[in-house]
């Protein structure tokens, strides 16, 4: 029941906000999301780490087509649900200062978005997963479309079609799997797993690409990333936060839950290609990021680079890779949120995001500078920050997979340090430019958002074990599959 | 077989001749009736009482200069009156002109073909008769002709519907489409098989049919296609000599055939009262019947003329209103009531 509540509570709130259009929509949304987060925490507390959980809910939905409404929370889901429910209150809170026009619609859409995201992370039915996957797209599309920046019509549509295209291939792949299930077909994840694993290596390979395309576009992995920088730039900051903080993770979650266990043989045979793509993405995005003049774009490319590393680590299909990816997903979510928020703060005060036109912000905003520094350190994976744990694990797995790829992937840290510190140096230090003279330091409200984030960065960096434990059992389950499958094949 | 062909050939020729003869003398009758109704004498110079007048007219038509307008469509200009004449003559094929004569043990029916769809055949022929007018009017390349042609086509089509509907009621009564059978159903004498003429059962149908027949023949008061006060001569404005003669002739033949059809459908055809009670020879009865039929036809031809000199011409909108808003509804009502009575 808790799962159901976590899934539908945001929707209820969204409907209430949308229909009643209360004046203080943001407060209602905030309180509701905090409540949601508390429930999620409650689940964490009660969570049975051994794997068998009572958080499943399963009723038939469209019995004639073997589709059921089947949701459950296991370790992996829980991490992501936690991330989602945790970030949304922050996102809402961060928007308090600069309210969007028509706030009711805005917050309703955010709540619907949250519902869809939770749905994606909890669905255990292929069709349901797809529905939520697509449903997540609609609110974020409208958020970007209505409240976005310049040239938004074209860019958001590109984003929409791009991601939809990928997901439609996923749909075909799922359908194909569905028809491979025995008897009156079923979309249940177990049935899909069985169907996928029963296929020959070649078929698995094809399916692998069908599914991977959707996830790769969402993450995004090179060369499917072209929508991402534009969209991140044009979207309103809350939209960007949602996109980079949570929505990206849908792709990883898909890989973890709906790709690798489904077609393990295909995955292992194509893993090299996919990892190479990811690594190329890392280097490519980093190089571009160095040349970026717009700070928001820089963060966007940085995000591609980080994501590349996560995906490369995941695709090694090792325990360390999995765990690293999970930790890094959480960490990246927090860090990306923080980065974009700081970017927005600077933008609102100086009306500029161009690195070159800023400088010397440190003089007028010391606290901001400090927080920014900590966040950047987290991003470039300094030890004792959250970024370090994830990247370390990921690089570890990558090195063990292939030493050259490991080296190439490792450049992400070097490059990251280059462009981040470079940007930091220009914007915060250096000579004060006329535009940056208008800067003021963090308000109490902004502090309320950023301080917990800073604390989180350190907490996860120093003591990530509880998080790893949550997902431990679920990850082992999946890894078991890999070993048996590869054993079978050999 | 030979005798059959011979008999049919003779019959065709005879009926053809009679038709032309009647039509020719209809022109004479038209003028005479007009004269009498207007307290005049009418033509009386050619022959005694002017009975050679049709010959004189024919001669005149033939002798006149044949003018085909330069801008006209020459082929169609000639085709128009030909079609008019042809279709007019074709209608007489299915009309039963009398009973059957028995000569030398062989029975000869006084009818060219007894089609089982006789009424429809007449209908078909009448309906294609309008092409003569349309083609001629159009080919003349004259606006009056064209107007006449357009009027004719609209008028013919409009009134055909009411005509058809009025006949449907009759066919519901008779149960056959063959004209001979319809005639025979109206036969009878005193000895138990007494039947009235159809007009008794279908008075409304008869009136509608009659009015439509007037319209189909372009007779006054429905002579809008050729009304001289508006359209000079309507569709035959440009015509002269025998081609004009063909048009006029066709009109009189149509009148004759219409009268014959009316007589056959509603007035017993070649039957006459008490025909079976007189105890006469069958051949004699047949001959008398034929004469009676022609008397009936003569009466209706006279009636056509009578009406012509009584009722003024309709206006075009009145014509259409009458056709669509009066005759068709009444005809439908007539069908309905006939059906009701038949069922009861």
């Amino acid at each position: 029941m808790m799962t159901l509540f976590i899934l539908f509570w945001p929707l209820v709130i969204a409907l209430v906000i949308f229909i009643l259009r209360p004046a203080n929509a943001k407060k209602i949304a905030f309180v509701a999301s905090v409540l949601e987060f508390l429930i999620a925490l409650l689940i964490v507390v009660q969570f049975d780490k051994s794997g068998s959980n009572s958080l499943a809910f399963n009723i038939p939905w469209i019995p004639s087509l073997g589709i059921s409404f089947s949701i459950a929370i296991d370790g992996i889901s829980l991490l992501l649900v936690l991330l989602t429910t945790g970030l949304v209150p922050f996102i809402i809170l961060s928007s308090f200062e600069s309210p969007a026009p028509k706030p009711a619609n805005y917050y309703a859409l955010i709540m619907v978005m949250q519902m869809a995201l939770v749905g994606v992370f909890t669905a255990l039915d292929g069709f349901l997963f797809y529905i939520f996957w697509e449903m997540a797209l609609i609110p974020i599309y409208f958020i970007c479309l209505i409240w976005g920046g310049e040239n938004r019509a074209f860019i958001t549509l590109k984003f929409f079609i791009y991601t939809l295209a990928g997901s439609l291939f996923m749909l075909v792949a799922l359908l194909y799997l569905y028809y491979q299930t025995p008897g009156s077909h079923s979309f249940q994840i177990d049935a899909i797993y069985a169907a996928g694993r029963g296929l020959s290596a070649a078929h698995q390979g094809i399916l692998y690409w069908g599914l991977f395309l959707a996830f790769a576009i969402k993450m995004p992995v090179f060369p499917f990333h072209t929508w991402q920088p534009d969209t991140y730039t044009v979207a309103p900051v809350e939209g960007t936060m949602l996109l980079s903080g949570i929505m990206l993770k849908m792709g990883f979650y898909g890989v973890i839950r709906w790709l690798l266990p489904v077609v393990p043989v295909g995955a292992s045979s194509w893993a090299m290609t996919a990892i190479i793509l990811s690594v190329i993405g890392i280097i490519y995005a980093s190089v571009i990021a160095i040349n970026q003049k717009d700070f928001k774009r820089l963060i966007a490319y940085a995000s591609i680079a980080h994501v590349g590393l996560i995906s490369a680590g995941l695709l090694t299909m090792t325990r360390i890779g999995y765990q690293g990816a999970l930790i890094q997903m959480i960490s990246h979510g927090i860090l990306a949120f923080a980065l974009f928020y700081i970017c927005e703060i600077i933008f609102q005060r100086t009306n500029s995001r161009t690195i070159a036109s800023l400088g010397g912000l440190r003089n007028n905003a010391p606290i901001l500078t400090t927080v920014f520094m900590i966040v950047i350190l987290g991003t470039i994976a300094l030890p004792f920050t959250s970024g370090f744990v994830g990247e370390f694990l990921l690089l570890n797995s990558l090195f063990s997979y292939n030493i050259f790829l490991g080296v190439a992937g490792g450049t992400t840290i070097i490059f990251g340090a280059v462009y981040m510190l470079y940007a930091f140096q220009y914007m915060m230090l250096g000579k004060s430019s006329p535009q940056s003279s208008t800067i003021a330091d963090l308000t109490s409200h902004e502090k309320m958002v950023l301080y917990p984030i800073v604390i989180l960065i350190f907490v996860i960096g120093i003591h990530p074990d509880p998080l790893l434990q949550i997902s431990e059992a679920a990850v082992s389950d999946i890894l078991k599959v890999f070993s048996t499958q590869s054993a079978n094949l050999k | 077989m030979i005798s059959f062909i011979l008999y049919k050939a003779i019959l065709v020729v005879v009926i053809f001749g009679i038709t032309l003869f009647v039509a020719a003398y209809s022109t004479y009758a038209e003028r005479k009736v007009a004269a009498f109704l207007q307290d005049r004498i009418g033509p009386d110079r050619a022959g005694p009482f002017g009975i050679l007048q049709p010959l004189a007219d024919g001669l005149k038509f033939i002798m006149k200069e044949e003018i085909i307008p330069n801008v006209s469509n020459q082929g169609l200009f000639v085709l128009g009156p030909s079609i008019a004449m042809l279709t007019a003559l074709m209608a007489g094929v299915v009309i039963p002109w009398g009973g059957s004569l028995t000569i030398g043990g062989e029975s000869y029916t006084l009818q060219i073909i007894d089609l089982n769809v006789g009424i429809l055949y007449i209908f078909a022929v009448v309906s294609i008769g309008v092409y003569g007018i349309m083609i001629g009017g159009w080919a003349s390349n004259n606006k009056f002709s064209l107007l006449g042609a357009i009027r004719a086509s609209a008028q013919m089509i409009s009134y055909e519907i009411a005509m058809g509907l009025s006949i449907i009621a009759l066919v519901m009564l008779t149960g056959t489409l063959s004209l001979r059978e319809i005639s025979q159903m109206q036969a009878g004498g005193l000895n138990g098989d007494w039947t009235f003429w159809n007009v008794v059962y279908q008075p409304v149908g008869f009136i509608i049919f009659l009015i439509c027949a007037f319209a189909e023949c372009n007779r006054t008061p429905f002579d809008l296609p050729e009304c001289e006060t508006e359209l000079v001569g309507g569709y035959h404005t440009e015509y002269s000599s025998m081609k004009l003669g063909f048009y006029l002739f066709a009109e009189y033949i149509n009148m004759f055939v219409s009268s014959a059809v009316i007589a056959t459908l509603y007035f017993g055809g070649y039957n006459f009262p008490f025909m079976n009670d007189l105890g006469l020879d069958q051949n004699l009865i047949t001959i008398i019947g034929t004469i009676v039929l022609f008397l009936k036809i003569g009466f209706f031809i006279f009636f056509f003329m009578w009406i012509r000199w009584t009722i003024p011409r309709f206006r075009y909108d009145q014509l259409m209103n009458l056709g669509w808003k009066v005759l068709i509804p009444v005809a439908v009502l007539n069908i309905f009531i006939s059906g009701l009575i038949a069922v009861l």
Partner: protein
Amino acid sequence: MLTNRSKLVVKKDMTFWERIYLPAILSGISITIKHLFRKSATVRYPEKKREISAIWRGQHVLKRDENGAERCTACGLCAVACPAEAITMVAAERKKGEEALYREEKYAASYEINMLRCIFCGLCEEACPKEAIFLTDRIVSTDYGRGQFIYDKSKLVEPVDKRIDVSKRQTSAVLEFKKLKYFSHNK
């Protein structure tokens, strides 16, 4: 109200019986059929001529006197009197030796009446001081061309050997009339 048969137009709605028109048509055809049995009004013309009135005004004649001389003196009064302006004439002086031909010293060298214009009103006859022009009971005959209807003297002057009697038109009333003082020149 020129005639006693005119009716006032009454625009009232027609009754049902009037609207179906059939009774009216029936009465119409009954009227026409009655005419069928009436005596025809036609006169078979060339064989049988219609009675004409005594003072019928037909084709003109230019009278000669008892000696056969033309009476007309080309005074032009007839032309003046003519409302239709149908009469034209050219006067000429009588030469020696023409006394037997023309009664007066002046005579009409040409005298034309356009019969297409003439309305046979008889004013020329009344105007004539010499009793030279009279209208007769003859009928102007048909012809083929318009030119033929301009009658000149060859058609108008009465032949010497075939005098035209106009006495019928000289009824007592006319004669009395002509005795009026106004017409004293006739004496």
